[in-house]
């Protein structure tokens, strides 16, 4: 029995905030993956562009907050759209079975990161809190409003995505394309457009998320690469196929990471993430709440 639960509860709350970031990246992966069968390895970098463009607009130029949020979302959506056109769309001609997108989206991720470094420099830019609220305290543990805002954003995005995939025509179109692109084409679905739109929407979510995350993490060019891998582990834990799984996986990973850093040390963070991944691979390769199954033949 520890002397006080307070540090553990603080770590739990902070972990939910970080987990919310992982979940947002994971939901972006999931959205694109469901629609196109591609795992966009530049998803984390798209989030960093949200943070960096948000910093420029809101902090440097003093754009009103809501306008800045809208502009960031639109700008990153455009980047995502272009990325799909350049790095993924040309591959569909090469045959649907090709895994070359692993390489091209990986290339896009490092190129985007390098461009961000050239534009915004190597420093971490501090971003003030988006909402003016004092930290509150639960049982002696501190709760930062910025962390709660991330968590709320993740919950809201998960709810919205679930609603869209379940109840709208667009969502069903995406599911159909993911299930069998050839069959979807035969039934008159424009699968090329589905690919580009899913990239743009996922990028919009990442851009928005980047802005919301920036007050906690700061805005820096290199915040994407660790998120790329953490988001992947989140989706591996939660399971492919649903926004809810991505959300749960992200939060679980965030809390485990946060507590591990508290109990062990900061050096353990990546190692613990890897151990979580290997454990889930050994026990439940489909993830805790996975609905997606890779086809055998």
């Amino acid at each position: 029995m520890p002397d006080s639960w307070e540090p553990y509860i603080s770590a739990l709350v902070a972990g939910l905030g970080v987990g919310g970031v992982y979940a947002l990246v994971a939901m972006g992966y999931n959205l694109v993956f469901r629609a196109t069968g591609v795992f966009n390895l530049a998803q984390g970098q798209l989030l960093s562009y949200g943070a960096l463009i948000g910093f420029t607009l809101w902090v440097t130029h003093g754009t009103p907050l809501l306008l800045a949020l809208l502009a960031v979302t639109a700008a990153v959506a455009a980047i995502g759209f272009l990325q799909e056109r350049i790095t993924v769309a040309p591959l569909s001609r090469a045959g649907s079975n090709s895994m070359a997108w692993v390489i091209t989206t990986l290339g896009a991720s490092v190129a985007l990161e390098n461009v961000a470094q050239l534009v915004w420099g190597g420093d971490q830019h501090p971003v003030p809190s988006l909402i003016e609220l004092d930290a509150w305290s639960i049982g002696g543990a501190t709760v930062q409003p910025a962390n709660m805002l991330i968590l709320l954003t993740a919950l809201a995005v998960a709810a919205a995505l679930t609603a869209v995939t379940r109840y709208t025509r667009a969502g069903k179109t995406w599911s159909a394309t993911a299930e069998d692109a050839e069959a979807a084409r035969v039934r008159g679905i424009n699968t090329r457009r589905v690919g580009a739109v899913s990239f743009a929407v996922a990028a919009a979510i990442s851009g928005f998320a980047g802005f919301v995350v920036a007050p906690v993490t700061g805005a820096s060019f290199d915040m994407g690469s660790s998120l790329t891998l953490a988001g992947f582990v989140a989706i591996a834990v939660g399971g492919f196929g649903s926004a809810g799984g991505a959300l749960a996986g992200g939060l679980i990973l965030g809390v485990i990471n946060s507590e591990a850093v508290l109990v062990l040390s900061a050096a353990w963070q990546d190692v613990v993430t890897l151990l979580v991944l290997l454990a889930i691979l050994a026990v439940r390769p489909n993830g805790l709440f996975g609905t997606y199954r890779e086809r055998v033949i």
Partner: protein
């Protein structure tokens, strides 16, 4: 010089059984020697260091090329294993005072071990999932030293890694560079031998997919573990020499960008030659050097290399380089016109023309009158769909047993159950009394039950001859070490494959196409080729899944003649087919399926007269003249 060009223009593993010319070997060594001596002549420290790094990274990239390029496995963790090799070597030398040579050996062994452990997820999940997992492992391994800062120096790095000594003298930087070149040369030589042996065929099958490899009777797990281990050893070799350049390593020396460099080098180099990644590494190391702000643009350049390399040069720089070298050779050969044998475009099979009689003799010799395929009470459901409810039949050697029925009646499912690709819910399958049910597909093939697929699973960019040779992999396993060392046994096995495959091609009437790539063949010829490959393992039972689909005119007659000859050799043939003229003309025995159940069996005439069959095929009223039946 022409020898160098020939080396570039050559198609390693592309033509079967060809004796590699010694001129090429000498040429390779000559290139090596020139590159090795260049910085020494110049006496330039900077370039010596740069070339050392290129040589080391090349060793790592050559390993990745084996996995990613040859076998199509997305095992991207090479840099993590490289880091492990470097750290084990460094820690043993600097912290524990080991002899540097012994520490290097230990580093390689540790890297091999870690590489095997890190590859375990690849046996469980495939494709992109493994790509991400392995990439993640690559970035985490260097971070683990922060957890154990005592022997490793932690995040601030490990200093004092003293160079190995020879006769009491520590190696100079040029000597270290020469060592790295020797190691690179040996790696290339070993991999060249391996990919030109019968293992090269197994890699090509794995790249086509697990099903392809299993259908030729080879365990994908065995091939995977072999290549993961070899790639890990190469990464470990690179890691074992790397720390001695500066005598210092830190976790920051193994960033994600290094993985990107190695992957990018493999992509832009190309996957068809063992030396291709060396070119890729050299380009990616030199190009940023041209601009004076190296660090600022390096990642952008690597990233663009990945994107553009994949999109514009999917088979890498090897292809245009080869073309250029061939063109130069052709130009050089024209005025001389005499001694040079030419490069050969697709390659002429070395086995010469095969003998159809020899192929028949081998099939007959392997035939076993007791090898009766017995299927009893087979059942399989997918969710609520009972694909196969109750299927029993017997297929005898020297007979053609046709399985017919409307679409969706369970014919292909039955074949998949017999050949082990599906696991039956109930029922028994056996050949000559040996039970087959529950066996993995490649083990079923080893019991000499081979098959073809509805969509031929050929190696599209390999020659027709090599496609047939792949079917022999189950027959004569060659040890990986034997193949790497290029021992006569490995060469004999490949030459034997080539000769027997040439016989089978003559038997199948495809001899004139032996040197062509399989995807240049018409669909009909591709089917004949797949039948020839299925015969390559001298099967007792041959399962054919709609071999006549897509065949036109005379091709159907060619197929019928081939199947008659195979039957004559004493093989039990199970023929799933829609072409009723072919079935009724060929079959000794017909099994009719409807909704997963056998509704009739008998000779073609008996089945034709069966009322239930007519109902199943033609609907309720039998108004048509039974054209199909």
């Amino acid at each position: 010089m022409t020898a160098v060009l020939k080396t570039i223009a050559g198609v390693p593993g592309g033509t079967a059984g060809r004796r590699p010319g010694t001129a090429r070997e000498i040429a390779l060594v000559a290139v090596f020697a020139v590159v090795a001596v260049l910085p020494l002549i110049a006496g330039d420290k900077f370039w010596t260091r740069k070339l050392f790094v290129i040589a080391v990274m090349s060793i790592v990239a050559v390993g990745l090329n084996l996995v990613l390029g040859y076998a199509g496995e997305y095992a991207l963790g090479q840099v993590g294993i490289f880091a492990a090799g470097a750290y084990v070597t460094g820690v043993l030398t600097a912290t524990y005072g080991w002899n540097a040579w012994a520490a290097m050996l230990a580093g390689v062994l540790a890297a091999a071990l870690i590489g095997l452990v890190a590859s375990v997820p690849g046996l469980r999940v495939g494709g992109w999932y493994f790509a991400l997992t392995s990439l993640f492992i690559a970035t985490v391994i260097p971070q683990t030293v922060k957890i154990i800062p005592k022997p490793t120096g932690g995040e601030f790095g490990l200093a004092g890694i003293d160079r190995p000594t020879v006769l009491g003298h520590a190696l100079s930087t040029p000597a270290l560079y020469a060592l790295s070149l020797v190691l690179l040369g040996l790696s290339l030589l070993g991999l060249r031998n391996l990919t030109r042996s019968t293992w090269g065929l197994a890699f090509a099958c794995l790249r086509r997919g697990d099903i392809c490899l299993r259908s030729v009777g080879v365990s994908p797990t065995r091939v995977r573990l072999t290549i993961y281990l070899l790639a890990a050893v190469l990464a470990g070799v690179g890691g074992a020499v790397y720390p001695f350049l500066d005598g210092f390593i830190s976790p920051d020396a193994f960033p994600l960008s290094l993985s990107i460099l190695i992957i990018g080098a493999t992509i832009i180099g190309g996957s068809d030659a063992v030396w291709a990644p060396v070119i890729g590494v050299a380009i990616l190391q030199f190009v940023p050097e041209v601009s004076d702000r190296f660090d600022k643009y390096a990642l952008l350049i690597y990233g663009l290399a990945l994107v553009l390399g994949s999109l514009l040069l999917p088979r890498g720089l090897v292809v245009p380089l080869r073309r250029g070298a061939s063109a130069l050779l052709a130009a050089a050969a024209r005025p001389g016109a005499g001694t040079g044998g030419g490069t050969g475009t697709g390659g002429v099979p070395a086995g010469g023309t095969g003998s159809a009689d020899a192929a028949v003799a081998r099939l007959t010799g392997a035939a076993d009158p007791g090898a009766v395929l017995e299927v009893a009470g087979l059942g399989k459901a997918f969710g609520g769909n009972q694909a196969v409810a109750d299927v029993s039949f017997t297929a005898r050697p020297g007979q053609i047993t046709a399985v017919i029925g409307a679409n969706g009646c369970g014919k292909t499912t039955t074949l998949n159950l017999i050949s082990g690709f599906y696991r039956a819910d109930r029922g028994r399958v056996g050949v000559g009394g040996t039970p087959l049910e529950g066996r993995a597909p490649h083990r079923v093939v080893r019991e000499r039950v081979s098959r073809t697929f509805q969509t031929p699973l050929l190696l599209p960019d390999r020659t027709v001859l090599e496609n047939v040779m792949a079917g022999m992999l189950t027959r004569t396993p060659v040890g990986a070490a034997t193949a790497i060392l290029g021992l006569p046994a490995a060469r004999r096995a490949r030459a034997g494959f080539a000769a027997d495959a040439a016989d089978l091609l003559a038997f199948a009437g495809l001899a004139h196409l032996a040197g062509q790539e399989a995807d240049t063949l018409s669909p009909g010829r591709q089917r004949l080729l797949e039948v020839a490959r299925a015969l390559a393992g001298s099967p007792a039972v041959l399962l054919l899944d709609e071999p006549a689909a897509g065949l036109v005119g005379a091709e159907v007659d060619e197929l019928a003649a081939l199947l008659r000859a195979v039957r004559g050799a004493g093989v039990a043939i199970v023929l799933v087919e829609h072409n009723m003229r072919l079935v009724m003309g060929l079959a000794d025995h017909v099994v009719v399926l409807d909704t997963g159940t056998v509704i009739a069996t008998g000779t073609p005439d008996e089945v034709r007269a069966d009322a239930a069959v007519a109902r199943s095929y033609l609907g309720r009223s039998r108004t048509e003249k039974g054209e199909g039946l």
